[in-house]
């Protein structure tokens, strides 16, 4: 049987629970996986009212963590060099720290995304970066718009009906007395 789901995002860095976003024909599904069990949250295109996006500080915090790592490894590296030793271990640690520091910076701004439907506002933990959100939106926005096209038509009909003044019936002819 063909898998009806296509992966939209991979899980951001987290401990214990992994969250992915998957795309189906008429909905998106957030999967929370612990390794032993999976929980599914579906959001149908016709029910989605909007997305709240706010910038988070995770990028700064991770940069601080990797920055401290780089400083410590850099000091060890410099210390070994000044003692005329070959700084193999500290060089490896320095490269690891620099790699993660650059990677975290290049991935772009971190964000929190909330999806608003008729019945709930839920956080999409599977989207952690602004760039990922833009990529996902570029994929699903046309699908949501297409699924809600009938709502737009209904709204336009309502608006047209409201703008058109009601027809006033012609008064009956005056009877000559």
């Amino acid at each position: 049987m063909k898998n009806p789901y296509t992966r939209l995002t991979r899980s951001p860095v987290s401990f214990g629970v992994y969250r992915h976003l998957w795309l189906a024909d008429d909905h998106i599904m957030q999967v929370e996986s612990t390794g032993y069990s999976e929980n599914y949250q579906r959001f149908r295109f016709e029910d989605i009212q909007g997305f709240f996006v706010t910038t988070s500080n995770w990028r700064i915090w991770w940069n601080i963590v990797w920055g401290l790592w780089v400083i410590v490894a850099g000091l060890a590296f410099a210390g070994a060099l000044s003692n005329y030793e070959t700084p193999v271990v500290s060089a490896v640690f320095l490269i690891i720290g620099l790699t993660f520091l650059c990677w975290n910076s290049l991935l772009g701004r971190t964000c929190r995304v909330f999806i608003v439907t008729k019945v709930q506002t839920a956080q999409l933990g599977s989207i952690g970066r602004r760039r990922t959100f833009n990529r996902v939106m570029a994929r699903i926005q046309p699908l949501i718009t297409a699924a809600q096209a009938s709502l737009v038509n209904n709204e336009q009909e309502f608006a047209r009906a409201a703008e058109t003044p009601p027809s006033i019936p012609a008064p009956p002819p005056l009877s000559s007395t």
């Binding site: 009212q49 996006v53 706010t54 608003v116 809600q148 209904n154 709204e155």
Partner: protein
């Protein structure tokens, strides 16, 4: 001042009045001071349909299975029960009654909300204890049990593959064979002595 939709703050989930709309795409929560971008869709401003069931007017009218006083307007596509406007739930192009939705929740791909996927657990149980090999005499049978019982269980909706179960079963079997060889060798040694 822009008048935006009446939505609660998603971050602090405070009152509806907490959100201050700057324009249609930007707002700020006055309580938690969080700034938001908002992307809206037509469903936000769409008028919600008010469902009103029809009361039975003639004695010959069919009544809803769940509400005897309401006139039946639809049939459940699964069980065929008569349903009023309130009980008929549209679901992926079909009309279902609440009972069918409740019973289908376990098996229907469109409705299932959680699943146990023993593949990952079986693989971890088979591989990780190798670092502390003496405990594999307990974990290997457990991993094999998970691999066998998990084979027929419904798999993950998004990654319906059984390779983890297969690998876990193979590794666990090898560990069990290893233990059998060791124990058998010890037994034979003690018997010959």
């Amino acid at each position: 001042m822009f008048r935006g939709p009446a939505l609660p703050c998603p971050a602090c989930r405070r009152t509806y009045e907490a959100i201050d709309w700057i324009d249609a795409e930007h707002c700020r929560c006055l309580r938690c001071r969080e700034d938001f971008d908002f992307i809206s869709f037509p469903a936000l401003s769409a008028k919600s349909e008010v469902v009103r069931p029809q009361a039975i007017t003639f004695a010959e009218d069919s009544s809803c299975f769940f509400h005897a006083e309401n006139q039946a307007e639809k049939l459940c596509d699964d069980c065929g029960r008569f349903l009023c406007h309130v009980c008929a739930v549209p679901m992926s192009g079909r009309t279902l009654c609440p009972t069918c939705i409740a019973s289908a929740k376990k098996n229907d791909v469109q409705l299932v909300t959680s699943r146990v996927v023993p593949g990952g657990a079986a693989l971890l149980l088979a591989v990780l204890p190798i670092l502390m090999w003496p405990i594999t005499c307990i974990t290997a049978p457990a991993a094999l049990y998970l691999a066998i019982t998990g084979w027929k269980k419904p798999q993950s909706l998004v990654k319906p593959r059984r390779w983890k179960l297969l690998v876990a079963g193979l590794i666990a079997s090898l560990q069990i064979i290893g233990w059998c060889v060791v124990v058998g060798g010890l037994f034979l040694n003690s018997a010959t002595l």
